[in-house]
Symmetry: C2
Subunit: 567 residues, 2 copies
């Protein structure tokens, strides 16, 4: 490829906050077509293909069979699984010319079960894994960050089928290791797996693979001491117990206009963790109320709350109309139709300050079991930075941001049961296969690598996924000797199977180098009258670790060897 012919333009203006979006736009990798919808120029398409090949090799290595599911699917199979109704507007629904309901695939569990039904009739066929690399559409309300969060994306999605949970667990671990190899091969071995919330996928066990970065939208709970790692959505919230030696009596105190946790804590001169606070939600389906009592210094983890309630909820917007006394809700003498829940962090203290269900008043000296009887505590608290690790018990929790670059789920029989896929077990009975599923978004991984591997001037692509391996800068291409040497090296590298791009434009060195920085090719060879005067090419690696002369004789072979070393 020649830079002079490469479609796309590179420029200097910073246009976006997120650096990968900025560099990939400025570098001529991507162009927005619509909200969360991009076209890829050739450099990005080449990176994507290399990532896809790595995905394919690693999926094949764990016995995967590549298949292809449709992008547009009849709604019928999504109705069978129940997700046509249960998923919100991120599932894009439409009608075809005959008026039939259709969806654009945002994931393909239904299609995988549809494909495997009736063609894996007996236990001997199991386990098996099928995967595809295909376009998906998810009608994201918050597309952002270039390819980081888009509506249309290319994804590798894999589906495994098993006859026992032990077999699923074993395969799940194999896939977990394949994912570690994939991220290492793509140049981001620092990606970590965290325990996650399965969400709309169903199932019990799942992990997300996260690249830690400040721009990540996921909040991760990490213990550097013991290695505990979980998505905030799935992290246990642990607090240490600090009971006062003596239980105080329950007393009513006037608190005037002080309503918020902060106001009450200041007014009564107690720390926030000595308050029992009420957080009020409403169920989306019928607007019914849910009161969560939780320790004053702990936030409610809404994902855990949703999972407990098995319902979508939103923070209550209107308390006037209900039977709750806003600003003073407390568990004693609470007469309400709302669902009332107690977070387990409340067990850590006694003698709480709480609402009195009476405007302008609170209570002190609340001791839950004594004052309201037996309480069922549940876990809906949010882990906090410096909090207690649920695994090792130390005050070692760190909160980090991460981009989710992959995920793996143990789905169980949710889909096979719903869609009626069965097989003949060894004992002659009819059974539902147990499924796992495993996803990696190609574009997001590419953008994440850019986010992790760049400097101020452009991406620093790892060799295995770089758009080209060697970038020849022919400075003063109008000099016949430069032109001759550059073109000879270009042909030789092509002949040796090295992926090479040559900049043969008659532009300034500064212009040429800033373009090369934006293309991020790992090895750069500079050929100029100056280097030729010392009978050499100059070799510079994009990551700045190498800067040396390269003998003209044998340069192509030497470069090929360097490429191989870095793969």
């Amino acid at each position: 490829m020649r830079v002079s012919q490469l479609l796309g333009e590179r420029y200097k203006e910073r246009a976006f906050e997120i650096e990968s979006q900025n560099l990939m736009t400025r570098g001529g990798y991507i162009k927005q077509v619509g909200n969360g919808i991009y076209s890829l120029f050739t450099p990005a398409k080449r990176i994507a293909r290399k990532i896809e090949n790595i995905l394919r090799e690693e999926m094949d290595a764990i016995g995967g069979q590549e298949v292809l599911f449709p992008v547009a699917m009849p709604a019928t199979i999504w109705q069978q699984s129940g997700r046509f109704d249960s998923i919100g507007s991120e599932l894009l629904r439409f009608k075809d010319r005959s008026g039939a309901d259709m969806v654009l695939g945002m994931t393909h569990e239904e299609a995988a079960v549809q494909l495997a039904t009736n063609v894996a009739g007996t236990y001997q066929k199991f386990p098996f894994m099928i995967y595809q690399i295909q376009t998906k559409f998810r009608d994201e309300p918050r597309a952002r960050g270039g390819l980081i969060r888009v509506r249309e994306f290319t994804m590798k999605d894999a589906y495994s089928f098993h006859t026992s949970y032990e077999d699923l667990q074993q395969y799940y671990e194999q896939c977990y290791k394949a994912y570690e190899r994939i991220f290492a091969r793509c140049g981001v071995p620092e990606v970590i797996a965290v325990k996650s919330d399965p969400g709309m996928m169903g199932g019990k066990i799942s992990h997300e693979f996260m690249l830690l970065t400040g721009i990540g939208e996921d909040t991760l709970v990490i213990c550097p001491q013991c290695g505990y790692r979980a998505n905030m959505e799935a992290a246990d919230c642990i607090v240490h117990e600090h009971l006062d030696a003596e239980e105080k009596p329950l007393e009513l105190v006037e608190t005037y206009q002080n309503k918020t946790i902060e106001e009450v804590a200041t007014f009564l001169n107690v720390s926030m963790d000595r308050l029992l606070k009420a957080v009020v939600y409403q169920r989306n389906e019928d607007d019914s109320y849910v009161v969560v009592f939780i320790r004053g210094d702990i936030e409610v983890n809404e994902t855990k709350l949703r999972n407990y309630l098995k319902a979508e909820v939103h923070p209550a917007v209107e308390l006037d109309a209900c039977d709750l006394c806003a600003g003073s809700i407390g568990p004693v003498d609470l007469h309400t139709k709302a669902t009332v829940l107690f977070d387990k962090t409340l067990q850590s203290r006694n003698n709480y300050v709480c609402g009195a269900n009476r405007d302008g008043f609170h209570r002190t000296g609340l001791n839950l079991t004594r004052d309201i009887g037996k309480v069922d505590f549940i876990d809906v608290g949010k882990a906090t930075d410096g909090g207690v690790c649920p695994s090792c018990g130390k005050h070692s929790i760190t909160i980090k941001n991460g981009i989710e670059v992959g995920n793996i789920f143990q789905l169980g029989t949710r889909y096979t049961e719903a869609m009626g896929m069965q097989y003949d077990a060894a004992d002659g009975s009819r059974q539902y296969p147990i499924m796992g599923c495993y996803g990696i978004g190609v574009g997001r991984l590419m953008a994440s690598v850019c986010e992790a591997k760049h400097d101020d001037y452009g991406p620093i692509w790892p060799m295995a996924i770089a758009p080209w391996q060697v970038h020849i800068c022919a400075l003063r291409a109008d000099d016949p000797q430069v032109k001759d040497k550059a073109e000879t090296l270009y042909s030789e590298l092509n002949r040796l199977g090295v992926e090479v791009i040559i900049d043969d434009r008659t532009v300034s060195a500064g212009f040429m180098f800033s373009d090369a920085d934006l293309l991020g090719v790992p090895l750069r060879v500079i050929i100029s009258p100056k280097t030729l005067a010392r009978n050499a090419f100059e070799l510079i690696s994009r990551d700045k670790t190498v800067k040396q002369d390269l003998a003209i004789e044998g340069a192509a072979a030497a470069l090929r060897d360097m490429v191989m070393e870095r793969m």
Copy 2:
């Protein structure tokens, strides 16, 4: 790969009329998900990937830059080109969650222009070609034949941009030759190019690449004498001139109940080509009438009629309400608001029989110029088998059916003008680039190869696109010696990079061979106690041209060489 693990089942029951659909369904290649929507099992996905690689290599070889356009696009760019309104319901339109109009891409001219706009600002960047291999959706009313005519399909679509028509023509010819190489490499060198009608794509010159087969939906006009080839939609209709020496007078004759061409010809005892017939259409937009006068033995080519009228038409459904005398429409004394057209085949004769615009009567001795004055003849006739070749003038036209497996179009500036893409020309002026576009459907090509290359037992895949290259049948895999030799060969072939599938099931030879026939792998190696007794493997080619013993020693290397020879 092992047949025992391959997902999919093969079976004997014929389910479909079209043989490729039948074999690809029975052979475990495809599974229908919805009307015109299929999932691909691994064998089909492997064939598709090989076809895609051939497409990629040939597009790269003519300077193509691989990019990726979105499947789901905002309607805005289709509104810019005007096609959001001009294309019918085969363009799938929907609204996203924000209510914005969207389309599913059935072709990507708009996306190509959107991508190239502002990044090819001066003439130096031209010419260039960008292409993608991506999923498309076309809401076909008549999905049929498995992958032959589907609604969702994978397509290679390429778009070239030029600064002159000469440059486009030159590139068009390059692409034409690349297409010939592609079809030859995919094992169907017999694919021919025919002149075609550009239809909704716009532009003037276009060709379709056709595989001749009885199941093809396209009708082709071919002259074996001179090589003239056109789609019926685009074929000139030529008839030889047979004027009577003497012009007869125009006379009114009573024809009673005889109304159809056949009835009138029989009643008056003349051949059909001596009749002038009227065919009546209505414009879709306003139901206004169009009368086409044409020679009695020639059919109207509706595509040519539409192109002439620049309007969609349908055969008239109701003549009672209009000012035409059904069963007796003729050009003399015709008083009508309808558009009246004369096909040029009418020039070939004189003394016609025609309608008299009076129930129960016709006229004889019609001589058009004499009786109604100057006539503008147009070409809307359909070529006929045995008709006159428009190129060499011989009575040599043959009508054949074909499947369109590719097409190339000279688009001109239709899209760049509509979407406002311009560049600085060498003379400093602003110009619209001139485009070409070039498509090949991957799935349809795969099914077409199957249609062209099969026997009663299954597909006979050409080596270059076969799902695997060598198929090992281990007959009596329970025999330790058979198992050992088969597994050794399997490992060696894998090590040599040969794509091999092994059938290690303990099933009967008949069962195993019929599965192998359906998988259609070019080289089959049979290993059984019988072959081992004569210290050999048996080699059979799927196309039955080779059946010989293969020495066990060196078998893997010999097979590798045979694979290479056949690529």
